[in-house]
Amino acid sequence: MDSTIFLFLVQDGVINGAIYALAAIALVLVFAVTRVILVPQGEFIAFGAMTVAAFEAGRTPPTIWLLLVLGVLSTVASLIQERHVLGPRAIARIVSINLLLPVLLAYLAAIAAPAKTGTLVHVVLAIALIVPMGPMLYRVAFAPMAQASVLVLLIAAFGVHFSLMGLGLVFFGAEGVATQPLISRDFSLGDIPVTGQSVAVVATTVVLLVVFALFFERTLLGKALRACSSNRLGARLVGVPTALAGEIAFALAAAMGAVAGVLAGPIITTFYDSGFLIGLKAFVAAILGGLVSFPLTALASLGVGIAEAFFSFWTSNFKEVLVFGLILPVLLWRSLRAPAHAEDE
């Protein structure tokens, strides 16, 4: 391996790692606030890329139908969950969040699609269509069992993943898509050509991570989310609405997923089920980071991305085996230093 290949692989790895980082941080956030391991994170990624692709083709993205289906389900779920406290205002709120907002977004998307309004509008609309799906999923699937064990929530998350993936096939079809690069100009770094897309991916990820850090350190909402993650009951006692915190965490996760999808769209061919594998690797990174620390998770994601790039160069057949196998030494290390009474802490 000469230095050109080496640097090329590193570049490749950093790009993948940046995308994994977005997904992995969303996983850590959602787990911390709600104890749900967000398996359907991958679907947000796939839907993000496929929505942009539909806009670029001048078609109304099928995402709107998915959003409307989820909106209806979410309305029903909210009405059932709040049946004891329903007043005209509550009904108006439920309907406007779950039905009117999706209809409005769908309408905007339907106007914008044939006009081919340009990359920026496509990206913004794609993200806007996907973000509400996060809280909707939380209301439909997870809010009714917020007190369940991590295991039950995890299995339910797989159920949601199956359903969403199936709906993805129904609405988006089995064809793969690739989208236009966000920045089509290429650069060079010394002898190494650097695509504009890589710059866009890394820059976006870095900016988002910084925004994230500021959000959690500086804003009241961010602090409330952190309070929920460190002590749910305590947070409730001081007045943080934990159900709302869950919805916000899911909205942030959906946004991160959609962004990751938009960024990955030009790099890989995206199918309705491509997200799962990306999500799974993000999840490896999240575990490597201990499922708690955001900076460690970002670092671990980078590590997973670079390792994957080198594995696929050395032995492309066993790339996945090795990436998932990465977790074993870390688990071993954790087992060896596990305290005797870890369960009780």
Binding site: V150, V160, L291, F318, V321, G325
Partner: protein, 588 residues
């Protein structure tokens, strides 16, 4: 006797299994479907033992099914083994894999364990799909059928008999295990492992054993699958299949062996029906089944998180105390000479960050003596208690039990040296009967392991253990609730369950953390009488107690702590008039 009825039922079911497919009552399609259900049931039974009973979750069982299936495929297709000869080797390969992965995974706490299984489950799946020796993505075909006396079992009806006999045997073995010494230890793991450790259960080893057992059941399923399907490909051994198996165990009712079969039947049927019926309803083929599947899964978890089986059939029947004579009693420990030093606590210090919880505390307990450890709230009594039991590590100082250092030792080893304890907050397994909870205390007095339990070769020892447990239950006055689940008892009764469990250890020294809290007057008097009786037998007793009347009337000596330091030691009469003690309790 219940065990006898169980055996008759098992034989009857086995006869039905042998006859049913040939009666013409089952259409051929159903026979095939039920073969797959039986194979899945084996995996789900393993998961019930692992998850519902042992409290560990695995998403990777499908990978073990794959190890079993691929091992027998390679052995029979490429190396010319007969399928029967490859059975033990396939199971051994699965067990070996489970030991390696389990050694890494089972010590993980909380959610890291299931997450770890997802990762290696995925890794093994991709390994199957890329190893050219295993046919990579195409898999392997031409696997020979099972043969019985020269006759190939190709007909699904004949295979039905093999599959379901394996299921019946596994159910019987699983029930044998759950009712035995090792099974009780595994069941005690589910709610934290502190109590299990305090009675000498080697927790990581117990976890690893269940993990390997669950994997071997999955390997057996894989072997059956390979010789029924006659070809293998990576698909059925992926993560999705692993999730489906877990789903079967959870939907059926994690923790219940029959629930595994119910879950396997329900899920397999659901998938089958959804594939058949949905296209008729929505007009297009295929796509919707996974949507419905996921939705049903989420709904099931929302409506019945405990699974279907307990809702329909209620709690499991209690284990009965043995009716026949146990054939001799359990051996007893040699008691130390009355008055000899049992426990010596020597200048023990424990800090939490800057806070010194226990500071240079020294005292002792002799054989045949009751010592009370008292002090105001926050004096360091419970910390001292946990340091002695090995539940907490000491920073400085020395603790000796019968002359041997126990500081730095594990709770298991300290228990083995004859220290029995009770907990401040009653720590019993709610789903287990009082009898089984108390029998856990005698864990170290038996030796039958998992294999003997599965094969029911441990009956004599079991009878002796349960006999001893029953004796101690009578001693604390709980004989009439012995068969009730411990979770249904009142707090005072739970404390007595803990006392009985500690006595089952055949202790030389008993440590009790506030045993009188929550007891009624009559119960307190009975407990005091019991402790005096123990003292008479030469047992040492150390009481942490808030109830002054109780401890003053009972203890030979009192040790008083305040702010982590010993401020007084002496007979109840001298302590009662000690100015420092009065000061600590009443304040100034």
């Amino acid at each position: 006797m219940r065990a006898g009825i169980g055996r008759i039922t098992a034989v009857l079911v086995a006869v039905v299994v042998v006859v049913l497919p040939f009666t013409g009552l089952m259409p051929a399609y159903w026979v095939t479907l039920f073969n797959y259900i039986g194979i899945a049931s084996l995996v789900a039974i393993g998961l019930v033992l692992l998850t519902g009973v042992g409290g560990m979750t695995s998403f990777g069982q499908a990978a073990f099914v794959g190890v079993g299936a691929y091992t027998t495929s390679v052995l029979t297709v490429q190396m010319g083994f007969s399928p029967w000869a490859s059975l033990p080797l396939s199971l051994a390969a699965t067990a070996l894999g489970a030991v390696l992965l389990g050694a890494v995974t089972v010590r993980l706490s909380g959610h890291f364990l299931p997450l770890g299984t997802i990762a290696w489950g995925a890794a093994i799946f991709y390994l199957f799909g890329n190893l050219s020796a295993l046919g990579a993505h195409d898999g392997m075909s031409g696997i020979p059928p099972l043969e019985l006396g020269g006759h190939a079992l190709i007909d699904a009806r004949q295979y039905f008999v093999v599959v379901w006999l394996a299921v019946v045997l596994s159910v019987v073995a699983a029930h044998n295990l759950l009712r035995a010494r090792t099974g009780r230890a595994v069941r005690a793991l589910r709610r934290g492992a502190i109590a299990a450790e305090a009675f000498g259960v080697d927790v990581p080893a117990a976890k690893l054993k269940v993990f390997v057992l669950a994997a071997v059941l999955a390997g057996l399923a894989g072997w059956l699958y390979a010789h029924f399907q006659r070809s293998v490909a990576p698909g059925p051994f992926g993560l999705n299949a692993g999730i489906e198996y877990l789903l079967m165990a959870v939907v059926g009712g994690a923790g219940r062996v029959y629930g595994a079969i119910a879950g396997a039947t329900g899920i397999t049927f659901l998938r089958d029906q959804v594939q058949d019926v949905l296209p008729l309803l929505v007009g297009s083929a295929g796509n919707y089944e996974i949507v419905v599947f996921g939705a049903v899964l989420v709904l099931a978890l929302q409506i019945a998180p405990q699974g279907v089986w307990p809702i329909v059939f209620g709690p499991p029947p209690a284990v009965q105390p043995p009716r026949r004579s146990a054939g001799g009693m359990l051996g007893r420990r040699e008691m130390p000479e009355r008055g000899s030093a049992l426990l010596e606590v020597d200048s023990v210090t424990r800090t939490y960050g800057g806070l010194v919880a226990v500071n240079q505390v020294s005292f002792g307990v002799r054989a045949g003596e009751i010592v009370g450890l008292i002090g105001p709230n926050g004096a360091g009594k419970s910390t001292t208690f946990n340091l002695i039991c090995g539940a907490l590590a000491i920073d400085r100082g020395e603790i000796r039990l019968r002359g041997e250092t126990i500081a730095g030792s594990t709770p298991q080893r300290i228990a083995a040296r004859g220290l029995g304890r009770t907990f401040q907050h009653a720590d019993v397994v709610a789903e287990m009967s009082v009898l089984e909870n108390v029998a856990l205390g005698a864990h170290l007095r038996g030796e039958a392991g998992m294999l003997r339990a599965l094969l029911r070769l441990d009956r004599d020892e079991e009878a002796r253990l349960l006999d001893e447990a029953m004796r101690q239950i009578r001693r604390v006055g709980l004989a009439d609730v012995a068969e009730r689940p411990a979770g249904t008892l009142a707090l005072g009764q739970l404390r007595l369950v803990e006392v009985a469990r500690a006595l089952c250890l055949d202790p030389v020294l008993v440590l009790m953390d506030e045993p009188a809290a929550g007891l009624r007057h009559g119960e307190k008097k009975a407990l005091a009488a019991l402790l005096r009786e123990l003292r008479g037998e030469g047992v040492g007793v150390l009481l942490v107690e808030h109830d002054m009347d109780f401890v003053m009337s009972l203890a030979d000596r009192l040790v008083v702590l305040d702010f982590g330091t010993k401020i007084a030691e002496g007979t109840p009469a001298t302590i009662r008039s000690d100015p420092k003690v009065l000061d600590a309790y009443l304040g100034t």
